[in-house]
């Protein structure tokens, strides 16, 4: 009962509470050396490492690198994906021609492109950006198309009867109508995107959180790997739960539309 009340009044506090026993059991497992210390360090070690890396400036720099790459790649991906999605959603012909290749290339997946990208562009920013753009592209396109298809056709007819040209209709009706689905696509896309980023940084990178983890693995240092994972998890959790999910919900609810 008390828990339910807590959950309703301070949802953020309630959300953080479960992590307490988690961290505690972590600490306990490490302290008891259930696994060798080298394999399973405790929270204390991780915190110390974090402080050290912040002090050296490495953690902030890597974090900034990763986040920047993700933002740049995701923005580019979205900028390409939404117009593409509108095109496919509104043109039967474009749909017939483009849909199967879209599905196929989505199935190939971003990571499978890395070897050939490495041949073309080497170990650098271009390769990583391409991977992220590629990854974000598909969920956004597919969800945009889904969103457009689920617009009440009467809305499109109403707009035409009120004198809207094709272009105005896209801006005034199609995009707002598909917006909840586009937000879902964006949320999914970012979910895949940051994973692709990590994979790219592990395989290709010279900096970034993924690289931090990979480098630490090479040096056999579990502490930094764990630190990297926690930073990633927290970052994405916060972005997803506090920024993306509320926006997705808000666009859907505000306009009384059922999301997804």
């Amino acid at each position: 009962m008390a828990w339910v009340r807590l959950h309703q009044r301070w949802p953020n506090l309630a959300a953080s509470l479960p992590f307490v026993p988690l961290v505690f059991s972590w600490w306990l497992t490490a302290w008891l050396e259930v696994f060798p210390r080298a394999f399973f360090p405790g929270p204390g070690d991780v915190v110390l490492s974090m402080i050290s890396l912040i002090y050296k400036g490495i953690l902030p720099e890597y974090l900034l690198d990763s986040v920047t790459r993700l933002v740049v790649g995701a923005s580019t991906g979205v900028a390409i994906a939404i117009p593409l999605g509108v095109l496919i959603g509104m043109s039967r012909r474009a749909n017939t021609v483009l849909w199967p290749p879209l599905l196929f290339f989505q199935a190939v997946g971003d990571i499978a492109w890395l070897p050939i990208l490495l041949i073309w562009f080497g170990f650098g920013l271009t390769t990583m950006t391409f991977v992220i753009v590629y990854t974000v592209l598909f969920p956004v396109v597919l969800n945009t198309v889904l969103g457009i298809r689920s617009i009440n056709p009467d809305l499109l007819r109403a707009a035409r009867s009120l004198g809207a040209s094709q272009a105005r209709m896209i801006w005034e009706v199609v995009l707002p109508g598909a917006l909840p689905n586009i937000m879902t696509g964006l949320r999914n896309g970012l979910g895949y995107g940051w994973r692709a980023l990590i994979a790219a940084e592990i395989i290709v990178g010279t900096s970034g959180i993924g690289f931090l983890m990979f480098d630490a693995r090479r040096a056999g240092s579990v502490v930094e790997i764990m630190l990297g994972m926690i930073v990633l998890g927290l970052l994405w959790y916060v972005v997803d739960a506090w920024i993306l999910a509320p926006i997705e919900r808000a666009t859907g609810e505000r306009w009384g539309m059922v999301t997804r």
Partner: protein, 252 residues
């Protein structure tokens, strides 16, 4: 206001499930004078919605013509305003912006179109809801917005596709009386599709009975305006007209 003329209008389409051509409309000839209110009734599947969709320009005709005054139509347009059964209000726009949509498409500036929209909202008694979103309104209110949204664009003809079918029975009666009030005020040419016979008789100057895509009958309604349900519900003329139309519809 302009007249609406249908001349030997026909519409056939290919039904993928049956694998054959289906005739939705055949040889429909109808003249609606400027300012006239015509109801179209018929059993389910008689083609009345198809008729409206063709006139509105959402579907192309297969044969015959649709003219507004003298000009044949081509595609949907602001000359033929449409009120939909599903209301079709833009959920992401306020009521004011919904009503102002038509003027916006014509390039009217923000202030001017807000003024126009407010004028029409007042006509429907909805000025207080101007800043609300459609989801916040009841069905009846949403449809009132739908009606004035179409009117605010000053169409030559108003097409209404079973507009009150999704609204509860009590509200429906109120909306019908309001529609008459607005019609008397604006002198709009109206084509009103419905399956509800008393509604068709209550609203119209003339009732057209449609069946299997053909015009079966046209019955003039010469009841006095303004019409109110309280008066007409016991009125002998109204009752016999309704009965006649209903008989026609059921015989079709």
């Amino acid at each position: 206001m302009k007249s609406l003329t249908l001349n030997q209008l026909s519409k056939t389409y290919f039904d993928p499930y049956k694998g054959t051509q289906v005739t939705a409309l055949e040889d429909v000839t109808l003249s609606i004078a400027p300012g006239e209110f015509v109801s179209v009734v018929g059993p389910s599947g008689c083609g009345k919605t198809t008729l409206l969709n063709v006139i509105a320009g959402f579907l192309p005709e297969s044969g015959g013509s649709v003219r507004v005054d003298r000009r044949p139509i081509s595609g949907p347009g602001p000359d033929r305003g449409v009120v939909f059964q599903s209301f079709a209000l833009f959920p992401w726009k306020t009521v004011l912006d919904n009503v102002g949509f038509g003027p916006k498409m014509r390039g009217v500036g923000r202030e001017a179109r807000d003024a126009i929209a407010m004028e029409y909202l007042q006509l429907a008694g909805l000025a207080h809801a101007a800043d609300r979103y459609p989801a916040e309104l009841s069905g009846g209110m949403q449809q009132r917005v739908g009606v004035v949204r179409a009117l605010a664009n000053e169409p030559d003809v108003l097409l209404m596709d079973e507009p009150f079918a999704s609204v509860d029975a009590q509200t429906r009666l109120t909306l019908q009386e309001e529609l008459i009030r607005i019609w008397l005020d604006r002198q709009t040419t109206v084509l009103f599709i419905t399956h509800d016979v008393p509604e068709a008789v209550f609203l119209a100057n003339r009732v057209v009975v449609l069946s299997k895509g053909r015009v079966m009958d046209e019955i003039a309604v010469d009841l006095q305006h303004p019409r109110k349900w309280d008066d007409l519900i016991e009125n002998d003329s109204f009752k016999s007209l309704s009965a006649r139309v209903l008989q026609r519809v059921r015989a079709a």
